[in-house]
């Protein structure tokens, strides 16, 4: 499973549904708050990824620091994915 690609695909899908415009390019240190998704869009992204991947790290992991950047966000999903399939 390519988590980065899954996250990128979900972002594009959510942006289309919610009439948001993603900034380009989205790179590792792009701040999620500035990627183009509003707060509802971010919630939709987490919901979409739960449907696509079958888990929600924000429910399953005892996250102590919320992800701020795209790379941190992906890392949280990668960590959760590895726990699922370890």
């Amino acid at each position: 499973m390519n988590i980065v690609q899954a996250v990128r695909s979900a972002m594009v899908e959510v942006a289309q549904i919610s009439d948001c415009h993603l900034i380009e390019p989205i790179v590792a240190d792009t701040l999620l708050l500035q990627c183009g998704l509003d707060s509802l869009g971010y919630a939709m992204l987490v919901g979409q990824l739960e449907e696509d991947l079958g888990f929600d790290p924000f429910t399953e992991l005892a996250i102590q620091i919320y992800p701020s950047t795209f790379a941190e966000f992906v890392a949280v999903y990668q960590q959760c994915y590895e726990q699922h399939w370890a």
Binding site: S39, Y42, A43, M44, I63, I65
Partner: protein, 443 residues
Amino acid sequence: MVSTFLAQLDKRANTANIIMQNQVVGAEEVIEKIAAIRRQTLHLYAQQVAVRYTNLTDFVTALVAFDGWCEALYLCPADGIGELDSGIYSWPEPYVEQETGDKTRLFNTEQKQAMGKGYSLIATRWYLASSGTTGAPKWFSHSFASLTRGVKHSPRMQSLRWGSLYQPYRFAGLQVLLQALLSGASIVEPWSEDLLTKMQQYALCEVSAISATPSMWRQLLRTHMLNHLPLINITLGGEIADQALLDILHLTFPQGRIRHIYASTEAGVGFVVADNYAGFPACWLTQGIPGAALMIDDNQHLRIKSSTHIDPTLAHRIDVNGYLDTQDRIQISGDRVLFMGRASGVINVGGNNIHPEKVETVILQVPQVQHVRVFGKNNSVMGALVMADVVVNDDADWATVVANIRQQCKTQLQHFEIPVKFYQQEKIDMSPSGKLTRINENG
């Protein structure tokens, strides 16, 4: 004896402040303007006034001037809320004559002159619109006493600088405003809508107290800028505060005082939980809380009996013993009472209440849609998201119908009310009485 905003603010006038961009306005400055405003607004005495929010200082000044002066205050955003009844004045007053057909009255000189002398204070009704409404807002009335029942006074509270993330004309925002000013503290009005910039401004102003919904707190945590603030007072309200969020806030601010507030626009101030655990202690159901008694009814709903004013339109939800059905489902788990969501099917998205029936009505206007059921699905970011099951005609193209539904929703609903997902169904279950079988994880 009427207790007014002016009288209460006067007690803390030497310390209470409103901090805006390049400007600090003391409560004393606000109070100094009141007599002049009332002299200029004799025509508003004992009248109903819609106070529109333009900036924090002017808004507070108007509220202080008109509480005890006007019969009723309707708190509105700058562009108003829906269409107010004729006979309700608008403040700030328009500078130009309004066109025929506008229902907002303008005062006239004769009216002013007709006013006699000797104005006694009035027990003003405060009207606040319930959240998430468009078009026809639902107004709930409060007294100044009921709005300020939960205000805490202490040297610690007086030393705080509040940053509010709520709109001051909404219930939660007004609560923050009143808590800040009546305890003699300061409140900061950010001069940017951008969250990152707002956080920089809060850091600059050394904001030490923030009140926000759990969804907003998650967003603030994502900025990684919270620890630039000397936060010692952390308040959560408007949604269910879950243990994971309380834990992370406690971890981030071990010295901070974390309080989650149970309150509703309908019922006025509820109660505060400050032990860092989700829900509230089960013993409160038997012991009660200051100023109110609590109970769980046969439907597992929380009921509250409070001595303060409750809007008369809620009379049907008050039992013979005076307990108001809050419509909040609760569950006793060990020594805690946990909130399980709304019984009415209302979906809480980041503190905004969404009525499924309203959304269903909009979707049913779309050709090819036979049947629809709107429901909430739990979401770890916003508490819940709105979803919809839809049954369409056999010959309908699903993608086209969904596109049409989205378009229809955009014209009639706020963005958080629009379902984020549509699921095509062959049928939707009905109860034996012919009603939709509601499925709502969020309550």
